[in-house]
Amino acid sequence: MSPDAAAGTVPHPTHLAHQFDDAGQQREAASLGMWVFLATEVLFFGGLFTTYLVYRNWYPAAFAAGSHELLIWAGTTNTAVLITSSLTMALAVHAAQTGNRRLLLLFLLVTMALGLVFLGIKGFEYHTEYVEHHVPGAGFQFDPANAQHAQLFFSLYFLMTGLHALHMIVGLGIMSTMFWISWRGVITSEYYNPIEVGGLYWHFVDIVWIFLFPLLYLIARHAH
């Protein structure tokens, strides 16, 4: 029953779930399922983007002031890190498609490492913001001219990047699972659905950051 892990090949029909007629149907169902899930995520983050839009429209100065306090080098580096991790993820899928188990494992590892780098930098940022009393709540301190509304900015900053970071952590869990099943030889050029849909999830998390970065870090930087 166990696939031959050393050879890295598995008889395909084992992976055909009973409710599907053929592998093509299963593959299309898996892909569509992940895309529908990503649609829900668009709306999930969308509620936060709506809140952001409303308050940035009301308090442009406070939002700009808050944005200036963020570490632009950290945000930019993290953007580069995530884009690179998307590349390595795409290359991992490519390796799976071409049956290259070693490259698949390598690129999954690199993607995970880059994810960890992202979280590390994010953690450093959070620590900095904590030390500078920019965490909303009783201890919040800010230039009195904008203090009241800057707290709104930071609430959004922490919630949006925090939710994003949570999704990254889940993504790392998904990567680990994919690494494990690839190691066990479950993935072949005939059957690589988990890698493909895992990749879709990872790219989506990257796209959320692609929008978070300018909206949070780059407000009216010219005035700084």
Binding site: R27, V42, L43, T79, I210, P214
Partner: protein
């Protein structure tokens, strides 16, 4: 998800474009373009996201249904944003 395998060279090209756009968006932020700053920043973000969706996520070679799901989700977010802002932007309007 089609069987079409995108060549690695395409991935590297897209990667280069994404990094270039990131560099550009940071640089542009330091110039005062008034309202164009936000438009530029969001425009570049949309462009980057489109590249990721089309190539890294294989949608360029995907089914029409996938396109529909992608566009539908963006459209729905648009509905949420537009109709909500429709309230906020008209609250101070005087009677017609």
């Amino acid at each position: 998800m089609s069987e079409h395998i995108i060549p690695r060279r395409t991935y590297y090209t897209i990667y280069g474009l994404l990094m270039l756009c990131t560099y550009l968006t940071v640089q542009i932020a330091y110039f005062d373009l008034g309202p164009l700053n936000t438009i530029a920043a969001l425009g570049i973000a949309v462009f980057k996201a489109t590249l990721v969706v089309l190539f890294f996520m294989h949608v360029k070679y995907g089914t029409r249904l996938t396109w529909l799901v992608v566009l539908g989700s963006v459209l729905w977010l648009g509905i949420l944003l537009a109709l909500t802002m429709g309230d906020y932007l008209t609250r101070t309007w005087r009677a017609l």
